[in-house]
Amino acid sequence: MTGAHDRHTRKGGRLRFVLLAAVAAVLLSPLAWMVSRSGMYGEVLSDRIDGEVPRFALHTRNTLLIALLSTPGMVLSSAVVAYGFSRVRWRGREAVFFFVLATMMIPFPILMAPLYLIFRELGWLGSFKPLWVPAWFGAAFNVYLLRQFFNGIPRELDEAARIDGCGHVGIFLRVILPLSKPALVMVAVFHFLYVWNDFLAPLVFLLHQDQFTLALGLSRYQSTLGGVRMEELLAASTLTIVPVMVLFFVAQRAFIRVGAGSGIKG
């Protein structure tokens, strides 16, 4: 922006500043309120959470366990599949890739009743398996993210590796994966958040309170413990947000770029 242009729009700039501040304040106010109300309970927070919301620690452990069991599979499988769409040249590749993208349009609610029946047949209901085994087959969105990233890695590196005697597996392991660490971490982060936030699938597939994830447990503290007060619920909610915020601030730049932009440029 040139100086002249700047001067020209200074007045508009001030108005813009005020409007943006207003929007930000409105959007942040529920968060700020929640944190402050639960903060009033600061001293007794841990006691409350342990005492009156008894399964909080257990539900946290369950969620982390599911994330731990599923994330390696999600990252690995999505990367392998993305390699197949980025570096392996085969007939029909673009058409199949388009099909993979199209499957993102099929939402979970459409699948939940038949999946319930299938998992029931397999004896998986009431275990964590319905929540982590499918992750080991990758996910269309993550495949898409990684393919975009792989496509940005210069092909000359493949050629060099090929001359050194590498096949596809060698190129994947020695060239693509080491250069894709940021993207792989992003997929892991996205998947962790997905597990952390997921509500409907745990609601459908988990049968016992002891197995609930944090999101599911949180939704129940309200109804099962009639005596739970607003402050305690807000405190518990705040605690579920903390890891998300920490991840966000650690990976902020990549978050905004990969989360928002990737879809678009190719």
Partner: protein
């Protein structure tokens, strides 16, 4: 360029399919199979305790006469047609303010994006209490308006729907960031040329920015349609579909039919109807946007 592409060996389709086989197997087991299974069950009466019994199209004809089914379709359609346009307009305006550099813009970006990261259950609980508590920022702000008491956020049919839309709009930061990134990618030369022609700021936004990012708007509208037809956690936690089923949405009914009433055949028919609704709405939006959306390759 030519040399490079002819140098590279072409792999057989078998090699390609082998690499993508994890996804193919997963798709087959956890998507295709359930869809086919539910097509079969949608033609049966199956209440889990007794074996499925073939009933032909009875589930579908029952749906046509099911008042609750139509109510949830109507509610979901109302929600979608309020939330998607509002979200799109707000996101575009805010993104246009956020895109250029300026004082504290980085802080504002973070502040606006942050609420969209709040897990859905936590967000629903926060809003439940935003509506209920007299001293919440929402009710405190309303109290500042002279003569206005706190509206019956969750107890009046119209207000309850409005409240659901409000909760949905809290996540506006997601599309804001998407639009903002795209706006920053619009070549500066286009604006310079337009300014030489005497075009003002609004003119630039209307004639350059919007057409240039139109593929993304289309993309977001389609995502919005899919999201709106999946809405579940917010009404489940905040209103439980009340009052008088005014916030009882399609996916809630599907959940209740499948897992409360245990009518798997009927639920499967509902799932198929939902799939057809989403597909036909998407096709309609794609067809309707032809000519409006600036062509750009994926």
């Amino acid at each position: 360029m030519r040399r490079r592409s002819s140098d590279r060996a072409r792999d057989g389709a078998a090699v390609g399919l082998l690499w993508i086989s994890p996804w193919l197997v997963g798709f087959g087991l956890f998507m295709l199979l359930p869809i086919l299974v539910s097509l079969w069950y949608s033609l049966t009466d199956y209440e889990l305790l007794s074996p499925a019994e073939f009933v032909g199209l009875a589930n579908y004809t029952d749906l046509a006469g099911d008042a609750v089914f139509w109510k949830t379709i109507r509610n979901t359609a109302i929600y979608a047609s309020l939330w998607i346009p509002l979200q799109t307009v707000i996101a575009l305006v805010v993104a246009a303010w956020l895109a250029p550099p300026g004082r504290l813009v980085g802080v504002f970006r973070t502040a606006i994006f942050l609420p969209s990261l709040v897990p859905i259950v936590a967000a629903s609980l926060v809003w439940l209490w935003m509506f209920r508590d007299r001293q919440s920022p929402l009710n405190a702000a309303v109290a500042l308006i002279p003569g206005a008491g706190a509206p019956p956020w969750l107890t009046d049919e119209t207000w309850a729907m409005a409240s659901m839309v409000l909760v949905g709009l809290w996540a506006v930061g997601q599309p804001v960031v998407i639009y903002m990134t795209a706006m920053q990618d619009v070549p500066e030369t286009l604006y310079e040329a337009a300014q030489l022609d005497g075009m003002g700021k609004l003119g630039c936004f209307w004639h350059i920015t919007l057409p240039m990012i139109s593929p993304l708007i289309l993309f977001n509208v389609i995502i919005g349609i899919i999201t709106a037809w999946q809405v579940f956690a917010q009404p489940y936690i905040i209103t439980e579909g009340e009052p008088n089923r005014a916030t009882y949405f399609y996916t809630m009914y599907l959940y209740d039919v499948a897992f409360q009433f245990r009518r798997m055949g009927y639920a499967s028919a509902m799932a198929w109807v939902q799939l057809l609704i989403i597909l036909s709405l998407t096709a309609a939006v794609l067809a309707g946007s032809r000519g409006l959306v600036h062509e750009r390759s994926l």
